[in-house]
Amino acid sequence: MFNGWLTLAVFLPIGAALLIALLGSSAARVKVFAAIASLAELVIALAIFLSYDTSEGAERYQLIDRVAGWIPVETFEVQYFLAVDGLSAPLVLLTGLLGLVAVYASWSVEHRAREYFVWLLALQGAVMGVFTSLDFLMFFLFWELELIPMFFLISIWGSGRREYSAMKFLIFTILGSAFMLVGILILFFTVGSFDMTQMPALVRQFSGAIPALPVFALLFAAFAVKLPIWPLHTWLPDAHTDAPTAASVMLAGVLLKMGAYGMFRIGEMFPDVLRDVSWLLACAGVVNILYGAAVVLRQTDMKRLIAFSSISHMGFVVLGLSSAVGAAGAVSPVGLTGASLQMFTHGAITGLLFLLVGYVYERAHTRHIPDLGGLAGRMPLLAAAMLVAGLASLGLPSTAGFVSEIHVFLGTFPVWGWLTALGAFGVVLTAGYILWMLQRVMLGPLNPRFADLRDATPLELVPVAALVIAIMVVGIFPATITDVFSTGIQPIVEALQLDLALGRQ
């Protein structure tokens, strides 16, 4: 089967990157070309998302691109296998959306602009590949491929200690990937396949032969670094702070989601292990939420602040995932849907926040919060956008943030009770640091130093508007996206339910 849509989605940015690299042109032309490519990519991603059939009886994996024997070595059965299910289709949309945002956010890049856009587009293609590959080896290849562009984006176009941060990012992730590769290979040599769609059934079939917990742990380690789970998070604030705006948008918006996405995938393969360790996940989630939120308060660099808030918000994903253990003899899809939705909402919200911080930085040339203040008077449009992003971040109803958080809470409270309540206290802390930041940056008397800052230009507003619309649509009409996510969650819930029904309480 070969529909071609997903191949297009993965290779359009990569192809565009190659074209820029090979043909070359003036910076202005490269930007326009990159903008057109990313716009086309968004249209394709939107088409993929909208075409995903959630009706009952529809195939789980859709838009399949499959070539058996891609790498024709006798014992290796590596296929070229791209497809989406309800879990990955919204993430494809998110990647398309943030890819466009990233290109627009880079409009003012002049330093080695051609090279810059090559890496940026390649990055988008690689992430697209991670979300759509259903062959474990291909998944791994794209997973690794994404590192290279991000490394260069941070180390060349970053600020501050950019080489240090880029290297830290690289070492942490590669260390995780090394574990993942071992895990994948153990899986392959036991069950004889890299096919991720077959893997849950194969693992069940070979359950006696697979050291389930070690394999799960190896794979999980890579995802935990990426997500990141405390205490493996220290690469994240450094990478974010020193990365250029577009790289921060991509990093927070989609790269962290790769970790969470991977956890869902291996959760379906090892439902018994996931259920066994879910108490650990619940604790890790709550620690992420509260630890991140507490440390945020002390940050004075806006980007660093948002980076720690990401740690806090990704904690909701982990907490939602922990509802996998089930309660009262049943696994509810609510918490898992919330966790998956949180991936999307956090991507949109944090992407928007980093974008806006980038705009503020371009104008004020500082991200140091105590230096800022009263900017709302000079740039009401940016202030309004920052308000929307901040409110969504603190989970205000009618924004996407609320929908995913309430799902996580509703889904995990019956399972974890007071632990969930503890995590829910994060909503108070979030309100605290978000509003305090807004106050210190946007409100109060204007620092005369910033008296002639200008507001956002119409071109700059395009990505802002795209993200605001995404945040509001999910907030007001959540069914547009929860219907897709819950279709994707259903087989995972069934796998967990089956494990639970086998009498393992």
Partner: protein, 671 residues
Amino acid sequence: MISESLVWLIFFAPLASFVLIGLVIWPLAYARPSTTGRDLLGDSAGYLTVAAVGLSFVISIAALFSTISSHGHIEYPARSWLEVGAFQLNIGILMDPLTAVMLVVVSGVSLMVQIYSIGYMSEEGNRPFARYFAYMSLFTASMIGLVLASNIIQLFVFWELVGLCSYLLIGFWFTRPSAANAAKKAFIVTRIGDFGFLLGILYLFFQQDALSALGLNGLDIPDLYAALETGAIAGGVAAWIAAGVFAGAVGKSGQFPLHTWLPDAMEGPTPVSALIHAATMVTAGVFLVARFFPLFQASGEMMTVVALVGGFTAIFAASMGLVMNDVKRVLAYSTVSQLGYMMLALGVGAYAFAIFHLFTHAFFKALLFLGSGSVNHASGTFDMRFMGGLRRFMPWTYYTFLIGSLALAGVFPLAGFWSKDEILASAFHAGSAVGYLVYALGLTAAFMTAFYMFRALFMTFEGEFRGGADAEAKESEDPDSLHLGHVNLRESPRVMVAPMAVLAVLAVIAGFVFNPLTSLGVVPIHWFTHFMGEGPVAVEIPDFDIILAIVSTAVALAGIFTAYKMYYRREWSAEAMGERFRSAYTVLSAKYYFDELYEDILVRRLFYGGVARALDWGDKNVIDRIANIVGWLGVNVGGALRQLQTGHIQQYGAAISIGILIIMGLYLWFL
């Protein structure tokens, strides 16, 4: 029977006004080169809001009559908002007497306040003017959405949205640090209560397995009533849910111990204080307890908690109102105190009277706030020490303010008399120790209420004018931080006076819909109580207790008389009183030091300076350092190991030889 789409229109009309202002009028104003001055473009935002809220009001009246003729119950279908597996989240309209009354209060007071705002905000330029009315429209829509909600999550959505509007409007003049601070404080303090509310919702959802066996969806409020009626939710469980709901109510209604945000909220424009922080949003907490009243009834303990918190807040807030010099702060503490009355009433089971007090209080408290705004336009200040003698310049404001004060003090036959008297009587007749206790608290608070209100009235309107903003600026070290207006001693324009007059009329007559004495033709005896009794809560109709009525009236008159002696005749010296009870006066002026306790000790020192600081330090110096040490080890161990691969054949040869010898040795050893 009123159609569902028409009821939705009550909500959508102001929402449409918000969207139009936000997406059309404000951007147009933004595109103008000049940022000051106002023309038709800005004005249209005000007119649009008034028209939209007016439409809501008219339909609300129709909905009220329709509810009356349907005997308090109109059923509308629940609609699915989202579904995940078996979990279904619905939205819909819950139309019962409580909703119908709230709709009229919200849209009616909002209409008056919007009209008044056109005059009050007249000095703002196009952009802020449009922004103001956009927020006000959004608030009105959200508040209406809150009272219409038939699902607890739907209710929570609007509950948070009114909080957002409160945040935006308190911080309307966002360049003032005090306003920005107050806005943030309001949001965060109420969110602590909302955290409790959220836990209550989660605990309710926890019961869903048991409820779905009965075909009920516990998140739908009518289903929740049914579940409580059949006993599917036991008393102990109900108590926990009710505790969560009450936490939310405490935050939003500024009850002790989350009362600190409300007085600071006075940083917002005065019409905002009138609408949001007196008549509607802050009463949402009372509404919430009333909405989930069956939950509270199912657990005796929570009723006691509500009564005690309400009773204590009534007297606690009133005591701070005694010494405030800012007229808006007097009114703010008064609001907290009156909300305490409503809670007290709910706690002793007087459901209908609590709602009735909410209803009457909305009119006269909004009136008083609008009056204080009018006074501010004349004197340029809110500090009563610099007012005085304003009666001569602004008779309309004076008389309407007088009516509001009399109503608030609870003087027969004004609206406040009926509602407050019945609350106190219910507490007394509850017959329990708690009942007598809160009766005593309420009665003492009634004396204080009458006193501080007439203290404010005399300080503001009587005697000689003490210079207003000019005098205050002279006395202050930093007049810029006070945001004073100009002294302009004359009556406010008609657009401001007319809404005050309407509210004054309501403050006089609103009590009669309650009508405990005899049938008045259009309004039958005990009409309001009967009507409320048609809702989900059974209501008892007590006899009118003339003795208690006389007692509470006497107490109110005593309070007025004391204020008269101290601030009008000046026969009893307020200064001497202050000297004599210096320590008490200091504690009251410092608001019992709660701001210091919360903001300085708990938040700044304990959390920010303690917990957060320690974690941040640990993040940098422990976790990150470990990561760097591991990295350092990697580099150095790698360097050490590199010595093994030098490329020298001789070394390799030696290593191989030694290796072979060792293997052979081991082989021989084990052989």
